[in-house]
C-alpha cells in the first residue's frame, strides 16, 4: 500500500501548490475587466473564501466562532455549504489554531486559519515564527506548510482601544519565511486573499476591520487573483512619493487631494505585500519625485515604515531632496478616547507633505 504521504504529495504536486515553490503563471493575475457586484470588504472576503473552498476540496477554514459566520460575518454561509468537517469552530486557543493549521498544511491541504482580532495573534507567534516560517527551510525542502493562510482583522475601528485596534504587522515583517499581505479595499481583498491562499508559502493576511462595512466597491463575482509582492501606484504624481497600506490609504488619499489643492503633486503607492515588499516600484517612484513619506497606524518606532525608509535611503540617498517622513501612530498603547490624537490623520500627513516638499 503506497504511503499516505506519497499519495498526498503527488496530489499536491498536481495542484501545483505547497510542494512546489514556483510562482503561479502571471496570466492568472489579472483584475477582471469592468463589472462586478457592489460589495463591502467583509462580503468580498466571504466571496474569496467561498471560491477557495469550492475550488479545492482539500481546503479547510477554522478559528473561533467561524461556524455561525464569525464575529465580523466574514465566514457566513461557509459551514452550511461546505460542512462542519471543513469549516469549524476551534477551542479558544490561538497557538492551537495556528499549530493545527500548520499540521493540516504540512499534509498538502490549504488551511485558512482565522484569528479573531490581530490583537490576539501573539499566543500564536511562536508557532508562526518557530514552526511555520521555518518549516520548509529547516527540513531542506522535504516538508513545507505553504498551504497555511492566517487571516486576522487589524487596525483602528474608532472605539477599539488597546485590544481591538492593533496593527502588529511589523512583528511579522521581521520573520523570513512568511509573507504579510494587507488589502486596501474589497476588490483588492478578494484577489489578494485568493492569491495568499494559493501561494506556496505561509501567509499572514491582515484585514482592515474599519473597512469591513465602510468600504464598498464593485467586486467581480468570478475567481480572480492579484499578484503578491507587487506594489501599485494608485495615484500618479511628481513631487512626493507617499507609501502606505490597508485602511490608511484612504486617509492618505484625502491628504493627497488636499495637497493637490496647494499645488503639490503626490504619487500614492499601495504596498499591498509587506514582506517580501516591492522595493523596485517604490524606488522608481522616489527616483522620480525625490521625496518619500510613509504612513501607518502602528506606532512609529520600529514600525514597518522604518524598513522602507532605510531601504530607500540606501538606494536613493543622492536623489533624496528631504529626509524620509514617517507619519504614524504614536509610541503608546492604542488609546480609546485619545484615538483621534493617536492616529496619523489627514492633517498630520498633509502637514508633513508640505514640510517635506518645502524642506
Amino acid at each position: 500500500m503506497a504511503s499516505a504521504l506519497r499519495r498526498l504529495g503527488s496530489a499536491a504536486a498536481r495542484r501545483g501548490l505547497s510542494t512546489a515553490c514556483e510562482d503561479t503563471k502571471k496570466s492568472l493575475f489579472q483584475l477582471p475587466q469592468a463589472g462586478g457586484k457592489s460589495s463591502n470588504l467583509c462580503s468580498a472576503i466571504n466571496q474569496a473564501l467561498h471560491i477557495a473552498l469550492e475550488s479545492d476540496p482539500r481546503s479547510y477554514l477554522f478559528g473561533e466562532d467561524v461556524s455561525f459566520g464569525g464575529v465580523f460575518r466574514c465566514t457566513t454561509g461557509l459551514a452550511d455549504r461546505y460542512g462542519k468537517s471543513r469549516v469549524f469552530n476551534t477551542p479558544l486557543c490561538e497557538q492551537g489554531i495556528v499549530g493545527f493549521g500548520i499540521g493540516l498544511a504540512a499534509m498538502g491541504n490549504r488551511a485558512i486559519a482565522e484569528i479573531q482580532f490581530a490583537d490576539y495573534i501573539f499566543p500564536a507567534f511562536d508557532q508562526i515564527v518557530n514552526e511555520a516560517s521555518k518549516f520548509r527551510y529547516r527540513s531542506g525542502n522535504q516538508f513545507n506548510c505553504g498551504g497555511l493562510t492566517i487571516r486576522a482583522p487589524y487596525g483602528a475601528v474608532g472605539h477599539g482601544g488597546h485590544y481591538h485596534s492593533q496593527s502588529p504587522e511589523a512583528f511579522f515583517c521581521h520573520v523570513p519565511g512568511i509573507k504579510v499581505v494587507i488589502p486596501r479595499s474589497p476588490r483588492q481583498a478578494k484577489g489578494l486573499l485568493l492569491s495568499c491562499i494559493r501561494d506556496p508559502n505561509p501567509v499572514v493576511f491582515f484585514e482592515p476591520k474599519w473597512l469591513y462595512r465602510q468600504a464598498i466597491e464593485e467586486v467581480p463575482e468570478e475567481d480572480y487573483m492579484l499578484p503578491l509582492s507587487e506594489a501599485e501606484v494608485i495615484r500618479e504624481g511628481s513631487d512626493i512619493t507617499v507609501v502606505g497600506w490597508g485602511a490608511q490609504l484612504s486617509i492618505m488619499e484625502q491628504a493627497c487631494a488636499g495637497a493637490e489643492k496647494e499645488g503639490i503633486s503626490c504619487e500614492l503607492i499601495d504596498l499591498k505585500t509587506l514582506i517580501p515588499w516591492d522595493k523596485e516600484t517604490v524606488e522608481a517612484s522616489v527616483r522620480k519625485t525625490g521625496r518619500l513619506l510613509i504612513s501607518h497606524e502602528a506606532p512609529v518606532t520600529g514600525g514597518f515604515g522604518a524598513e522602507i525608509s532605510a531601504s530607500i535611503v540606501e538606494r536613493c540617498f543622492l536623489r533624496l531632496e528631504a529626509p524620509v517622513a514617517r507619519i504614524c501612530g504614536l509610541d503608546t498603547p492604542f488609546p480609546l478616547v485619545f484615538e483621534p490624537f493617536y492616529m496619523p490623520t489627514k492633517n498630520k500627513i498633509l502637514d508633513a507633505i508640505k514640510a517635506t516638499v518645502n524642506y
Binding site: 504521504l5 511562536d126 508557532q127 518557530n130
Partner: protein, 307 residues
C-alpha cells in the same frame, strides 16, 4: 527490536565521543530511553506520521534512516537532507514520515493534531504520533494540542517520555499533578501510564493505542516512565545537579537494553557471543563510516581537528 536498541546505543556512543573530540559541534543521546524509541516505532507502521521532539532518533533508525544519513546531518555536510541548516540531531525524512526536529519544546504537538485531522479527513489507515518529555508537558502547546485533539477527535498518539528531568529540573519542580497521564484524562483524552523501560510493554501499549486512535478516531496519551541516564546534551554535565550514584543505579539496574537482552537470552534466542559480535560489528561499521564521511566531505569538517 533488540538489535535496534543496541545499534542505537552504539550510535549514541560513537557520536557522543565524536562531539567530545570536536568532530561535530553538538549531540543529544538517548541513553536509558532505547525501549521507548525502538519499541514504539516497532508498533507503528510506515504510514503513521511521526512528530518528534529531539530524543527519538531510535524511531528514525527503526524506520530505516541509515547510519550514513545520521552522520550527514550531524556533520552538516552537502549530503545532509536538511542542507546543513540546523544543529546536529535535527533529523528529518519525508520518505520515512518523520518530520524535521525543531529545538523548540512541544511546538510539534499542535501540528501533529492538524496532520492527524488530515489523515482522518482523507480516511487513511494511519495516525499521527508525537513525542515530548515531562518538561514539554508544561508548555502551552501541550494543552493546546490535547484540547484540540479531543475536540477535533483526531487520531493522534501523544507519547510523553517522562524521564524525570528537563535539563536540570526534576519533575518535582515541573508539575504537582499526578504525572502527565492524568492531564490527558482532564482533557477528555484516553490516557495510560506504562513502564517505558519495558520494551514489550511499550510495544503492546503503542500497538493498542494505535488501534484505538485509528479505530475510534480519537487521541490517546501514553506516559512512558523512564530515566534520562545521559546528560541532557553534550552541553550539559548532569552530575552538577543530580547524584552520580543515582545515574549509575538507573544505568546498571534499570537499563532497558539489558532487560530485553535477559529476556531474549532466557528464551534461547540470544547469547553473549551474539551480543559482543553485534556490538563490535556496529561499532566498527560506525567508526568506518564516520571516517569515510569526513574524507568525502573534508570542507564540512572543522580544520583544527585531526582525523
Amino acid at each position: 527490536m533488540y538489535t535496534g536498541m543496541v545499534t542505537l546505543q552504539v550510535l549514541d556512543t560513537v557520536f557522543y565521543e565524536a562531539q567530545r573530540q570536536g568532530r561535530i559541534s553538538f549531540y543529544v543521546t538517548t541513553i536509558g530511553e532505547e525501549a521507548i524509541n525502538i519499541a514504539s516505532a516497532a508498533a507503528l507502521t510506515m504510514d503513521d506520521l511521526v512528530f518528534p521532539q529531539y530524543r527519538e532518533p531510535g524511531v528514525l533508525l527503526w524506520r530505516g534512516f541509515t547510519l550514513q544519513e545520521f552522520a550527514n546531518q550531524c556533520f552538516g555536510n552537502k549530503a545532509d537532507y536538511g542542507k546543513g541548516r540546523q544543529m546536529p540531531i535535527h533529523y528529518g525524512s519525508n520518505k520515512l514520515n518523520y518530520f524535521t526536529v525543531s529545538s523548540t519544546i512541544a511546538t510539534q504537538l499542535p501540528p501533529a493534531v492538524g496532520a492527524a485531522y488530515s489523515l482522518k479527513m482523507d480516511k487513511q489507515d494511519a495516525c499521527a504520533v508525537t513525542y515530548f518529555g515531562d518538561g514539554g508537558s508544561s508548555e502551552g502547546d501541550f494543552h493546546a494540542a490535547l484540547n484540540f485533539a479531543a475536540v477535533m477527535e483526531a487520531p493522534v498518539i501523544f507519547i510523553c517520555r517522562n524521564n524525570g528531568w528537563a535539563i536540570s529540573t526534576p519533575t518535582s519542580d515541573q508539575f504537582r499533578s499526578d504525572g502527565v497521564a492524568i492531564r490527558g484524562q482532564a482533557y477528555g483524552v484516553k490516557s495510560i501510564r506504562v513502564d517505558g523501560n519495558d520494551a514489550l510493554a511499550m510495544y503492546n501499549t503503542v500497538r493498542a493505542a494505535r488501534e484505538m486512535a485509528i479505530g475510534e478516531q480519537k487521541p490517546v496519551l501514553i506516559e512512558a516512565m523512564t530515566y534520562r541516564v545521559g546528560h541532557h546534551s553534550t552541553s550539559d554535565d548532569s552530575t552538577k545537579y543530580r547524584p552520580a550514584n543515582e545515574i549509575e543505579w538507573w544505568r546498571m539496574q534499570k537499563d532497558p537494553v539489558n532487560r530485553l537482552r535477559k529476556w531474549i537470552e532466557r528464551n534461547g534466542w540470544w547469547s553473549s557471543e551474539a551480543e559482543s559480535e553485534l556490538r563490535i560489528d556496529v561499532r566498527k561499521q560506525q567508526e568506518k563510516l564516520l571516517r569515510e564521511t569526513i574524507e568525502r566531505h573534508p570542507r564540512d569538517y572543522p580544520e583544527d581537528v585531526p582525523l
